[in-house]
């Protein structure tokens, strides 16, 4: 009996010894180069996070004066209260003088598979709205599908859940968001840039009906990532208008996206389709020209001219995109404007001089479906950083 107790005691002892891994989560045990890149407090699992991204552009349309612009300068500021609770903000200057809060949300991580978050958040639709840092896409300007069809950077106040399933290589997001404003100040929705004018951006925004947004990402095939996004709801009308026919429209947007990378070759593409309900009443009420259907797609291929294993990367790319904010107009009670059926070729280079810093140059051929429309050219140069 004594022997048995002694053996057990020794066994338990050795197990105890064996498990004494010092897991002091407040210590920066692993002093890797960028471990401290964003942590000011020196406390790795709790504290302040800073970061940001910026892009400075030069656009030179053929036959016109050019434009030099500090297009975006965004500071990321976050605070981690503990491993479960984090507050994240992105503060943005556009064109030097316009200030926005781009994101501001509180995230509560319940477990490995489930986060609950609320606040001003990005609507997960397509590629660029969520991944819009300039080092993550080719070309100086974001694709125009991600401007006129998906109004990037599209963010509203909402609440929802997100998480990942490692076994299935699946990420999900589902939110209830505030919707677009039917009328935003003096701006109305229309054919030129679709729903873009309706973004309320969390600034004293009007709310009368919730909108649902969800996205699934699958990355279980090596090198490939697929996304399926959906957004459904209605625009928000003010109290004095919301009983009137045409005060709001229904919005149903579906997006498919894919990204592929295989050694030095990469490709991406997306398709976005939007249906607008009650556009006829809306157009009659506000004397505008919002289509009843909008759609757009693009495809892009790129090849890295620098061998793998180096820090630098030089992507030569070509992209074709086609988008139409008047894809259907008959139910909207308006004539179709073919100049809103646009297409673009963009080709150029993205020279990643360091991880997080890119110098870009590209040329765009911009055309539309109007008969005998003359293709316009534009040269773009600039750089982007993300840290």
């Amino acid at each position: 009996m004594k022997k048995a107790i002694l053996s057990m005691a020794i066994l338990v002892s050795s197990f105890g010894f064996a498990q004494t891994v010092s897991q002091d989560t407040t210590a920066t045990r692993n002093q890797q180069q960028n471990a401290a890149q964003n942590i000011l407090s020196g406390n790795i699992s709790k504290g302040v996070t800073v970061g940001g991204y910026a892009q400075i552009d030069y656009n030179q349309p053929e036959g016109q004066n050019g434009k030099l612009d500090v297009h975006r300068f965004v500071m990321l500021l976050g605070y981690k209260f503990n491993d479960k609770v984090q507050f994240v903000t992105e503060l943005e200057y556009e064109h030097v003088k316009e200030f926005y809060v781009e994101q501001a949300f509180l995230n509560y991580s319940l477990n490995d598979n489930l986060n609950v978050r609320a606040g001003l958040m990005l609507v997960p639709m397509g590629l660029i709205n969520e991944y819009h840092e300039p080092t993550t896409f080719n070309g100086i300007e974001r694709p125009n599908v991600d401007k006129s069809i998906v109004p990037t950077t599209w963010r509203e106040i909402g609440v929802g859940v997100s998480g990942k399933f490692n076994e299935a290589s699946l990420r999900y997001q589902a939110y209830i968001f505030n919707g677009f404003a039917s009328v935003n100040g003096t701006k109305v929705l229309g054919g030129k840039n679709g729903l873009r004018n309706g973004r309320q951006k969390g600034a004293e925004s009007t709310v009368n009906t919730p909108n649902l947004s969800a996205k699934l990402d699958y990355y279980g095939i090596l090198g490939l990532r697929l996304g399926l996004s959906g957004y459904f709801g209605r625009t928000q009308a003010t109290d004095d208008m919301d009983d009137i026919d045409g005060a709001d429209v229904g919005v149903a947007m579906i997006g498919l996206d894919a990204r592929y990378i295989n050694k030095r070759f990469s490709a991406r593409g997306q398709y976005i389709h939007t249906s607008i309900k009650d556009a006829d009443d809306y157009n009659a009420l506000y004397a505008t020209n919002l289509g009843s259907e909008m759609k757009g797609w693009y495809t892009e291929v790129a090849y890295n001219l620098i061998p793998l294993g180096r820090e630098q990367k030089l992507d030569a790319f070509i992209r074709y995109e086609q988008y139409d904010t008047h894809a259907a107009t008959s139910k909207a009670g308006i004539d179709r404007n073919l100049s809103y059926n646009r297409n673009e070729w963009t080709t150029g280079l993205s020279y990643h001089v360091a991880t997080g810093a890119v110098v870009k140059a590209d040329y765009q051929f911009i055309d539309n479906a109007v008969t005998n429309n003359k293709t316009k050219g534009q040269l773009n140069l600039g750089f982007g950083v993300w840290f």
């Binding site: 338990v12 010894f17 498990q19 891994v21 010092s22 471990a35 970061g51 990532r225 793998l308």
Partner: protein, 175 residues
């Protein structure tokens, strides 16, 4: 039962409570049990002289590398450490067989939304079979994940550094 046995049991209990934080320990135990199909095992920390470890690319300080024992039987090795993600760091585990060939890698705790895709079981499978002679190159023999570049690079570098360090430790006959 005489007094010294009681003292020994008491000490054992204390040691159990001074180990890994529960969440890390639970995850490491679960993986090892699953991989080796064992119920009882011990993790014995390996200690190397600091003049050796300070020269290594990866952290081989106190309580990073362990031998996994089932009674007297040597099952393999476990390496537990941290690597940076975009704005935080994550805990990871690498399990080796007795010849230091990777048989499993796992992200134990990931603390931010961005880059969490590196936890994908399918993606982590790429490291299985890698050993000290291998050089892991992001984008080449380790495939990237779109939208998780920073963490993919970080995990690739971390595991590569561990493999390189093990090679050096072997050369110095530290095992």
């Amino acid at each position: 039962m005489n007094f010294k046995y009681i003292l020994l049991l008491f000490t054992s209990t204390l040691m159990l409570s001074s180990g890994l934080p529960k969440n890390i320990q639970k995850k490491v135990d679960k993986e090892i049990k699953k991989i080796f199909e064992v119920e009882e095992f011990t993790l014995d920390p390996m200690v190397f002289p600091s003049e050796v470890t300070k020269e290594l690319a990866a952290d081989f300080g106190e309580n990073t590398l362990f031998t996994i024992q089932e009674n007297e039987k040597h099952l393999g090795y476990a390496y537990v450490s941290k690597a940076p993600s975009k704005t935080d760091d994550f805990d990871y585990l690498i399990v080796f067989d007795t010849n230091f060939i990777i048989i499993k890698s796992k992200v134990l705790i990931y603390r931010e939304d961005y880059g969490g895709e590196i936890g994908s079981k399918r993606w982590l499978k790429q490291f299985i079979g890698k050993t000290q002679g291998d050089t892991l190159i992001y984008g080449d023999n380790i495939v990237a994940i779109s939208g998780a570049t920073i963490s993919v690079r970080s995990m690739t570098k971390a595991i590569n550094d561990v493999l390189v360090s093990i090679k050096i430790l072997h050369e110095k006959q530290s095992f």
